[in-house]
């Protein structure tokens, strides 16, 4: 058969399934008025690299979404390139050994929020890379890259708005096939 096109009744062989590059490994529904959501058993040795998304929910206030790994509250480094819709000036912001990554998503108050970022190596005992963005918060939009400079393997992560609460939507974790 021709990848990725399949027809009804086709037999999926191991070779076919092993060619699937991205796999949904965890889904978590977000409750109402939560300050943070921790997703456990998200990362494992099955995959080295992951995509994390949150869609179809809202934030109570215009906010940047933050991400932490396990219980780690230190060692987060990051830079954000961003701009405002009202100007063409490129702007930047950094986080230097912070308690979390920020800017992995965002929301305008009462409107749909989002998270979309990649984490490379969270379940390996080495620094974890963040390939993040797009970031949005009211009139600011940007992209970000970061690193968690703690050589520890994690299985869980936490998403939280930096102000107010989040409600609804679904967090999904996808693993890139090694």
């Amino acid at each position: 058969m021709t990848y990725p096109s399949f027809s009804a009744g086709d037999i999926l062989t191991a070779a076919d399934m092993n060619a699937v590059g991205l796999w949904l490994v965890k889904t978590q529904t977000v409750g109402t008025a939560v300050s943070s959501v921790q997703v456990t058993d998200a990362f494992s040795s099955t995959y080295n690299n992951y995509i994390i998304t949150w869609v179809d929910g809202t934030c109570s206030a215009s906010a940047s979404m933050t991400l932490t790994l396990g219980a780690s509250a230190t060692g987060y480094y990051q830079f954000l390139n961003y701009g405002a819709v009202t100007a063409s000036t490129p702007l930047g912001a950094g986080r230097n050994n912070a308690a979390s990554w920020a800017w992995v998503g965002g929301a305008t108050a009462g409107q749909a929020g989002h998270v979309r970022c990649e984490v490379f190596g969270p379940n390996l005992a080495r620094y974890t890379k963040l390939i993040g963005g797009p970031y949005q918060n009211d009139n600011a939009y940007g992209t970000t890259v970061g690193e968690h400079r703690v050589a520890t393997a994690y299985t869980a992560f936490t998403l939280a708005p930096d102000s107010g609460t989040m409600t609804g939507g679904t967090i999904r974790v996808y693993g890139y096939r090694n």
């Binding site: 978590q28 529904t29 977000v30 409750g31 109402t32 008025a33 939560v34 300050s35 943070s36 959501v37 921790q38 997703v39 456990t40 109570s60 206030a61 215009s62 906010a63 940047s64 954000l80 961003y82 702007l91 912001a93 918060n137 009211d138 600011a140 930096d162 102000s163 107010g164 609460t165």
Partner: protein
């Protein structure tokens, strides 16, 4: 925004910490820290 205004918007018994499918309210210490952080971030948006 002041901490008092923030607490009025987000009473302690109406905000939850979620772990997987389990939700709980915050302890007093957790709530005070969360309020302080939220107020700071609300008052210091990106320039």
């Amino acid at each position: 925004m002041t901490p008092e205004e923030y607490k009025t918007l987000y009473p302690q018994d109406s905000v939850y910490i979620q772990v997987d499918d389990t939700e709980r309210t915050m302890t007093d210490d957790e709530y005070e820290a969360w309020v302080a952080e939220g107020v700071y971030n609300s008052n210091h948006p990106l320039p």
